[in-house]
């Protein structure tokens, strides 16, 4: 074997099999070539019209054309390719053709990486195809080149996050019904994100840097966007790999680890912003974002399995400290809820500690925000545990534990909407009938009753679920002792 062959074989062995498959399929398929040719033709038309119109239009014709081209590119890279990639993956999940992969030695992580890299190859190809046309706008007036490159870099990063997000939504589809539901939700989320982001991006391209980045914020803003995109990619990657991993595997460990890293990274970033702006409000915003994440984590936790799989049981460390940590991070409903409560408490403590320790201004909102977040999460944990109890008591044979989040959603909707309906009919006391709605906890003019209700709901739900939670804890610790 020649050296070239050896090198080729080594390179070939390094290739992710999913990328090879996806690229082969795309070369055969019509979608990518169709999109590419359509957009190339469109760009030619746009650029020709812009050049023809050059003499008559404003001095910023270059910027306007570039913004228009950017919009098209971003639509293709952030919406079309990720949604198509996700659709393809969900179809494979739905028809079960991915199952055969799980009996090979390929890991769920490799599958997700392969799908992601394949999407990125197409996105990069699209960027390359757009680059000459975008560069042409430089010869028209009103184009800021450095900012254009920066915007394109952001667009690429955001498209990467979008592609991974769609893969994660696609991974959730495990039958025909859930496939349609999750594809619809995923598609809508992507479209909403597109409209939210593309406007800002197009304006950045068109109007230059000054409008968006004051000199003192530019560096931190760039770092924030980059870190946000990287966090989104890594979280969606971990989540998608866990979703497609076998049910008996310790699926939540990497997700919770990743969640903790994102928590830490976002805290550091918020502290940097807070110090730069000398305002404690950044930490309140950070805690509010973490709160949203914890609501989702609660929905996941109540839908996790409540008995130990053989594989998880075998991985539990015997060391008492490690065993306690493992309970929080390993797959399991009770451990997941404990993780949510722990992160919630640390978040609230952190939110209150740093602004005072750093002597930041605008810390007046902290006590109010603490109570609001605590009550809101109290509602969510309460409804989650209530849903779990209802499922076990009445629907254990009808609803699989992994769908408990749907019951949680229904219970929350019922407790929020039905009392309001009764209020509307009877005309009784206003706030009493709104107490079931978790969002009342976030309202500025809420009463003490509303604040207390969330906490009481959580305490009551924990109480009725105590035997269930205790059983899981005992089972976990017993398995750990057996490994020792």
């Amino acid at each position: 074997m020649t050296m070239m062959e050896t090198l080729y074989n080594r390179f070939d062995d390094l290739l992710n099999p999913i990328i090879v498959k996806e690229l082969r399929q795309v070369v055969r398929g019509k979608f990518f070539w169709g999109v590419l040719l359509l957009f190339l033709a469109f760009q030619c038309a746009v650029l020709s019209l812009s050049i023809a119109d050059r003499g008559m239009s404003s001095r910023s014709i270059g910027g306007e054309t570039l913004a228009f081209l950017f919009g098209i590119l971003f639509f293709a890279s952030f919406v079309l390719i990720p949604i198509q990639n996700g659709f393809k993956f969900s179809t494979e999940r739905n028809d079960g053709s991915d199952e055969l992969l799980f009996i090979t030695t390929i890991t769920p992580e490799t599958i997700i990486k392969g799908k992601f890299y394949a999407a990125m190859v197409f996105i990069l190809l699209l960027f390359s195809a757009f680059a000459p046309f975008m560069a042409m706008t430089f010869f028209l007036s009103g184009v800021d080149m450095p900012l254009t490159f920066l915007t394109l870099f952001f667009a690429l990063l955001i498209s990467a996050a979008g592609a991974m997000g769609q893969i994660c939504f696609a991974a959730l589809a495990h039958d025909a019904q859930s496939n349609k539901a999750f594809r619809a939700i995923g598609g809508m989320a992507q479209m909403m994100a597109f409209f939210a982001i593309s406007g800002t991006g197009a304006e950045m391209v068109q109007y230059g840097p000054g409008r968006f980045m004051g000199s003192s914020h530019a560096g931190l803003l760039i770092v924030s966007v980059i870190l946000f995109c990287l966090a989104a990619v890594s979280f969606f990657y971990r989540a998608a790999a866990s979703i497609i991993a076998p049910a008996g595997a310790n699926r939540m460990l990497p997700v919770r680890k990743c969640g903790l890293f994102i928590w830490l990274g976002s805290l550091i970033l918020s502290l940097l912003w807070a110090i730069q702006e000398n305002s404690g409000k950044f930490l309140v915003s950070w805690a509010a974002l973490i709160c949203v994440g914890l609501v989702l984590a609660t929905m996941v936790a109540v839908s996790e399995r409540d008995s130990l799989s053989e594989r998880v049981a075998r991985e539990i460390p015997a060391n008492p400290l490690k065993k306690r940590l493992a309970f929080l991070f390993y797959s399991g409903s009770a451990g997941g809820l404990a993780w949510v409560v722990l992160i919630m408490l640390i978040t609230l403590l952190t939110m209150n500690f740093f602004p005072r320790a750093l002597g930041l201004h605008q810390t007046g909102d902290l006590p109010d925000a603490t109570v609001a977040i605590l009550s809101f999460l109290g509602y969510c944990i309460g409804y989650g545990l209530l849903a779990s109890y209802i499922r076990r008591l009445f629907f254990s044979s009808l609803v699989d534990i992994r769908n408990t989040w749907i019951i949680m959603f229904l219970v929350t909707a019922f407790c929020s909407v039905v009392p309001m309906f009764i209020w509307a009919v009877t005309g009784s006391d206003y706030e009493l009938f709104l107490l079931g709605n978790p969002f009342i906890a976030l309202s500025r003019d809420r009463s003490d009753a509303a604040q207390a209700f969330g906490m009481l709901l959580a305490a009551g739900a924990v109480f009725i679920n105590l035997p269930w939670l205790k059983r899981q804890l005992n089972e976990f610790f017993k398995a750990g002792d057996q490994n020792g």
Binding site: R24, E92, S97, F102, I106
Partner: protein, 309 residues
């Protein structure tokens, strides 16, 4: 190597798909997996292929649990599901190459291996064809080739003969015989019982997730018979032989059936051999002396009730 299933149970909500199933498959065995629709065959095979987790019980390869060490198990198992390959926009060669890559077979070995597999499964001539253009029989061969990529010790096949024409079924049968001679243990579920009886060394019958019978083909086909039916065809005097047999121990229910004498015989194989010696010594001339075998179909109909869960 030995693939053992011990007290395997699988529940889906209120349905218990598999109930306390225990059996084993050894290297070189071809075990027929028989049961009515909805009996739990596919679920059992999917658990053995590590696609699903059991609710309780264990599946072990040489004593090592596949639920605890699924990665190790996957190296020893090939699975042919009841669905045909669905990657319609790939050619046969690309499809096999994709799975060889998924098994992390190094490039230097992969190309030769795929060529060999294509030759073994008679796919060489159609390797560049798209899967969507293939017939069911060809797709089934692709599926088997895929399952053999990692050179597994055990092959689990779920209804591989379903929908195949007679030629494709015969080819499949021959392929399985060759694989068995290579020392691979094969567990094959099928509804075509006559074919199973022809190639299988042992059989496993389940209904409603429960094991009804497991053993060698002979043991299964002799199921429920306290005495075996003996068929004797003499060329000498039938009546004289009848009078002789009536006095022999273990012989009962003697009837004349055309040119044959048929009777129930409760003795063992050694006793039957002695009986044959005595018949010959008594100057009766025979051209046939054999036990009548129940076929797998009649055993299946006798011991199953056709109920689903």
């Amino acid at each position: 190597m030995m693939l053992t299933v011990e007290n395997l149970c699988k529940n889906f909500a209120t349905t218990q798909a598999v109930k306390d199933l225990t059996f084993r498959v050894s290297s070189g065995d071809i075990t027929g997996f028989v049961g009515p629709n909805g009996a739990g065959k596919t679920t059992t095979l999917r658990i053995m292929a590590t696609i699903e987790d059991p609710s309780s019980g264990a599946v072990c390869i040489d004593g090592q649990s596949i639920t605890i060490h699924p990665e190790a198990a996957r190296a020893c198992i090939g699975f042919v599901p009841d669905s045909l390959p669905l990657h319609n926009d790939m050619s046969v060669h690309e499809y096999l190459d994709f799975f060889a890559r998924a098994y992390e077979i190094p490039s230097a070995r992969r190309h030769g291996l795929i060529d060999d597999l294509e030759e073994f499964t008679n796919l060489t001539g159609i390797r560049e064809k798209l899967i969507v253009t293939l017939s069911k029989g060809m797709k089934q061969r692709v599926s088997i080739a895929r399952a053999l990529i990692n050179d597994p010790q055990f092959l689990l096949m779920d209804e591989p003969a379903a929908g195949l024409d007679p030629r494709a079924r015969i080819e499949l049968r021959e392929l399985l015989r060759v694989l068995s001679r290579q020392g691979k243990g094969i567990l094959i579920s099928s509804h075509i019982l006559s074919e199973l009886a022809e190639i299988c060394t042992s059989a496993l019958i389940i209904e409603q997730g429960m094991l009804l019978k497991f053993g060698t083909i002979e043991e299964v086909t002799n199921h429920g018979q306290a005495a075996r039916r003996l068929i004797i065809r003499p060329i000498s005097d039938l009546e004289a032989l009848s009078r002789f047999l009536v006095l022999e121990p273990g012989v009962g229910g003697l009837v004349l059936n055309g040119r044959n004498l048929e009777c129930d015989y409760s003795g063992k194989d050694e006793d039957a051999s002695e009986l044959l010696n005595r018949i010959i010594a008594a100057n009766h001339r025979l051209i046939e002396f054999r036990f009548k075998q129940q076929n797998l179909e009649s055993v299946f109909m006798n011991i199953t009730r056709g109920e689903v869960q």
